[in-house]
């Protein structure tokens, strides 16, 4: 181990960043869609969707990971489909991103929904009268107005993804350089006598990264909220 962090540890940091980034990116559009559907539409199965979205929050992470494993594992049809389209997730970092995205999803959807519920439908109506189609209204009015919620949801998802452990290790295991994210590495160190020192170092790193993301999001969110507030 050279320097403050060894190469394996740096690897875990880099991997966690990559996984969290992609998890957030994956969850964002779906999160916006789900939040919009839940907030604005009434359709059969609305409650079911709502429940599904929240499931990862309710279930112990290990259970979520287990469910992911039997859904997206190499033997499962969904897993084989993903493999066939060239995006295998089983025991890959892509799977870690998927797990993190799933775990972060309810947080993100909630955040976006709250923003959505606060958008004054009168402004959307006004845009409609100006000839904007529903999709344009969404893009030009709704989306900018919920931007603070999206940023908040995004950062929440990112932070959650940085800390996600149970589902990840259960779904994609703990493969160095592929699926050994920061929390998994922390766990690994804690399992052996004398590993606490390394664990603490990694915990500090995660805190620094997540705080930086948090401050950034805080700043972006304030600026956006400022733009959006008051007519």
């Amino acid at each position: 181990m050279t320097g403050w962090l060894g190469p394996q540890e740096w690897q875990a940091v880099a991997l966690s960043l990559k996984v969290s980034f992609w998890a957030t990116l994956l969850a964002l559009p779906l999160g916006v869609l789900a939040a919009y559907a839940l907030s604005r539409w009434t359709f059969p199965g609305r409650n079911l969707l709502n429940g599904l979205v929240h499931l990862p929050l309710i279930l112990p992470p290990v259970v979520t990971g287990y469910l992911l494993l039997i859904t997206f594992g190499p033997q499962a049809p969904a897993g084989q489909f993903l493999e066939w389209i060239g995006l295998p997730v089983a025991f890959r970092w892509t799977g870690a991103a998927l797990a993190a995205a799933v775990m972060a999803f309810p947080l993100m959807v909630r955040a976006i929904r709250l923003s959505l519920d606060a958008v004054d439908p009168k402004l959307e109506e006004a845009a409609s009268t100006l000839g904007a189609s529903p999709i344009r209204v969404f893009i030009t009015i709704t989306l900018p107005l919920i931007a603070p919620g999206i940023v908040a949801g995004g950062i929440l998802a990112f932070a959650k993804a940085m800390g996600e452990f149970g589902a990840t290790i259960t779904f994609v295991s703990n493969i160095p350089g592929e699926t050994r994210t920061l929390p998994t590495a922390v766990y690994t160190f804690l399992q052996v006598p004398g590993g606490e020192g390394s664990a603490v170092r990694l915990v500090i790193i995660s805190i620094i990264i997540a705080m930086a993301a948090l401050l950034l999001s805080e700043w972006v969110s304030r600026r956006l909220a400022d733009r959006v507030r008051g007519a």
Partner: protein
Amino acid sequence: MLTVSITHQLGDFSLDAAFEAPAGISVLFGRSGSGKTSIINSISGIIHPDRARITLGDRVLIDTSRAINIPIHRRRIGYIFQEGRLFPHMDVAQNLAYGARHARGAAVVPEARIVEMLGLGAMLKRRPRDLSGGEKQRVAIGRALLAAPDLLLADEPLAALDGPRKAEILPYFERLRDELAVPVLYVSHAVGEVARLATSVIAIEDGSVVRQGPAEEVLADASVTPTGIRAAGAVLRARVVAHHADGLTELVAGGIPLHLPRIEQALGTELRVRISAQDIILSRQQPEGLSALNILPGQVRNVRAGQGPGAMVTLDTAAGPLLVRITQRSAASLNIAEGVSCFAIVKSVSIAPEDIG
């Protein structure tokens, strides 16, 4: 031509209105809470009425009996809301551009012209929350106009504006009325505005249309409640014949000369001049030595005594029928009765600038 027929229940309030709005400006006139905004909302598609059939030209906007309901954004309707509804995340320029961006035809008026007319130049880069109440409303007007709609709905668009600014914007609505085929449905409480702008007037009471017709007729009808006595008046059609050196413009209505402070209109222009019933003094003999310049001889068609001290006299003159409100005491002392001849005295300046157009 806009035809509207709506039945709708809002809590305790029932809306049951049917009317037609021809080209030009149709003013919806009625007390607070009488249902004007609800009607406008139904036409724009924001309210989905219980039962309705609304057509604009040959387009059916909604027909609940045939399950037709064109979505808001395809109705091609410009709506100036009672409360502005500017987009808070866009600056003024972007708010204006929003209308133009989705415009369904060539802009009626170029943006630069609208910015200038509404005095928005200095605030293009500001956000709505940094605008004063009146400024917001001006932006809202500009935005709706730039959308080049087939029908313009205006819900008390000028209520928040000061007199001079109103006076500046009113001519634009007149231009809309006179130069373009775009019908305008215009909600207003202000008699001056109504008189000046309205091609036709639709009076609403408790959710129902109590009176509709050409502006001249409805406004001349003292019984239209929301208008009320003070707003009664006649609208004359007059033609500009001369601009005098002393600043007066001479018009002729049915052969009778009328003098008004300079009107910037070309000779020959046909104008509508509203003379409020209460601004006329009657005299039995030809008046002399008065500062009033406009004297119209006529014959009393009828005298209706109202409740209270007043009486409404309809006087047939060569310029058209005039409505004159006097006290019953004067009517008695001057012996004003059906058939008698008398003179209507109108101060030139009592024809308010807003009432000419």
